[in-house]
Symmetry: C2
Subunit: 337 residues, 2 copies
């Protein structure tokens, strides 16, 4: 059985409350007493029972992070960054996977499991505006990622529209005019698919390039296989195109693979641009030009916002919306000029 405060106290010859005081750095403990207690702690290998502490203090020093799936590199890397940032703050992270499924997202928001945490960082994918009132939860909540809701809740998000517009303009500037898009998803209302498509259309409009729906390919999940499938579909449509904008890197890479299998040269015949700046984007053949949406900043800011909310005392501050800056990372799949 693990040692408790009382075991330590008995060994040190003090009351168990004094041991507690030592552990919590209560200032008024005589050095001699402190040392005595610390020796006893070391001897018994005492470790505080964090459940008991949480029950009493109300703080768990644990946060929950919910992402669609770790199988998607974007979310894996994001989760890694959140966990690293949490670690620096002495926090533990429980990771939940929602599969991007609306029902699982809603279930999570109501789950008693969250009673073990001080707050939640949620990357919603399946929920829509009609579910916004599910965001009315009795614990700190930060929405991380593309989707925003018309609901007073902290959001840490990226400039989807502007970034997609910039990516499209980048392709336009390099002389491409028939730019296909992979990842559109009409089921989404406020999500990144819709927003990125809007940016794409804005760019086209601003440059007088007509929007052609036959260049837009849908993909619900954003895995490599979805990108590949979408590219097959696009090739079958037999419409001319000289560039592809993948709404995330994973799909762009899947699509690029199919493109090259089909004998199209990248970037000579078709330029490809992605979104996310995954680690692997720098190592594909050709390496992938992409949008860096500021992941590291997103991760750290999401955690910081959550911590601020957790630490908040008194009246609730108005919700914050934090926007990451993006940059376009030029690589081989779409040279600048």
């Amino acid at each position: 059985m693990a040692a408790t405060l009382r075991d330590v106290a008995k060994l040190a010859g003090v009351s168990f409350k004094t041991v507690s005081n030592v552990i919590n750095d209560y200032p008024h403990v005589r050095p001699a007493t402190r040392e005595k207690v610390e020796r006893a702690i070391a001897e018994l290998g005492y470790k505080p029972n964090l459940n008991a502490r949480s029950l009493r203090s109300g703080r768990t020093d644990t946060v929950a992070l919910a992402v669609p799936e770790l199988n998607l590199s974007y979310f894996a890397e994001l989760a890694g960054m959140v966990i690293a940032a949490a670690e620096e703050n002495g926090l533990t992270v429980v990771v939940e996977q929602t599969g991007g499924d609306r029902d699982r997202e809603l279930a999570l928001l109501r789950s008693p499991r969250l009673s073990m945490t001080d707050g939640l960082i949620l990357s919603p994918l399946g929920m829509g505006q009609e579910d916004a009132d599910a965001l009315d939860v009795p614990f700190p909540l930060v929405l991380l990622g593309e989707r925003t809701f018309d609901w007073p809740c902290d959001h840490v998000t990226m400039r989807n529209v502007e970034a997609a517009r910039a990516a499209t303009e980048y392709l336009l500037a390099s002389g491409r005019r028939r730019i296909a898009v992979i990842g559109e998803y009409e089921g989404e209302v406020m999500g990144s698919a819709r927003l990125r498509l809007r940016g794409y259309r804005e760019a086209l409009a601003a440059h007088g390039v007509p929007y052609d729906a036959s260049l837009v390919v849908r993909a619900t999940l954003w895995h490599r296989a979805d990108g590949a499938r979408a590219m097959h579909e696009l090739l079958e449509r037999d419409v001319p195109f000289d560039a592809v904008f993948g709404f995330n890197d994973t799909m762009a890479l899947g699509a690029m693979r199919v493109l090259q299998e089909a004998g199209r040269r990248v970037p000579e015949d078709v330029a490809v641009i992605g979104f996310d700046d995954l680690d692997e984007a720098a190592y594909s053949i050709p390496s992938l030009t992409t949008v860096d949406p500021g992941r590291e900043w997103l991760a750290r800011t999401a955690l910081g916002t959550l911590l601020a909310r957790i630490a908040e005392v008194g009246p609730k501050q108005p919700p914050r919306t934090e926007l990451a800056d993006f940059t376009i990372v030029e690589r081989e799949s779409a040279p600048r000029a």
Copy 2:
């Protein structure tokens, strides 16, 4: 403030223990009472406080998973599988990143944070046999991954030597004789680098191919960039080679990229084989032949083993070692013949 058992009890007009009984499906509760209580629970939106439950019952229904970093796809995918399996069992998973660092691994094993969990699945990378006694922990522990220790502790691992040998023999069978290896790491004693290297050497020996140290490139971390760097080093050595065995897919992909930049054709000039069968291995150009070490099975078995250990009553069962079966996945980077 969240509702408690007592709030529910007051509303339902029963003692708070009865509410507890309802929640825990205690059989002797009259249907009428049960319904009354359930109505009160629904009305108040009562959710049990899991910290209090854990404190009292000693079970947290949470397990910890420690991997080097989620930034490595192998571990991200593995973590995703463990979390999914845990979810099916109603468990929560806290994810820790050790960075593959010995000190952080050792610190984790001693961390009070684990008092919030029922057990730990650890993928050690930095620790060596000399740290084995740190595995003598007062909670269920399962080691997941390549490294095994001479210590009575559950291991769920893969057939590293055999798989590496099979991968090497696969290349030999296709006529390659100068097989480079990326990922050797002399700092490791019992880890996968050493084991895979052994498999490689066994295969060479069995086929009468001399071992040439100049074909072996070291890499400590196993990122894409390490694979790329290793390949640069190999090319600079200017030794002839007609195949590359990357000790993981990530490095193999990084290396393959450099190889092609350098004008070597894959697989015509150089065949490449990896290890892990990541999702992305199927979508690289060319797609990557690799060893599937049975990740899904590893993840599920690790969790299952841990759960068995947690549920264990009475005398401690002898430690189990579970070995996953591997298969070689033939793709373009190294055709069979």
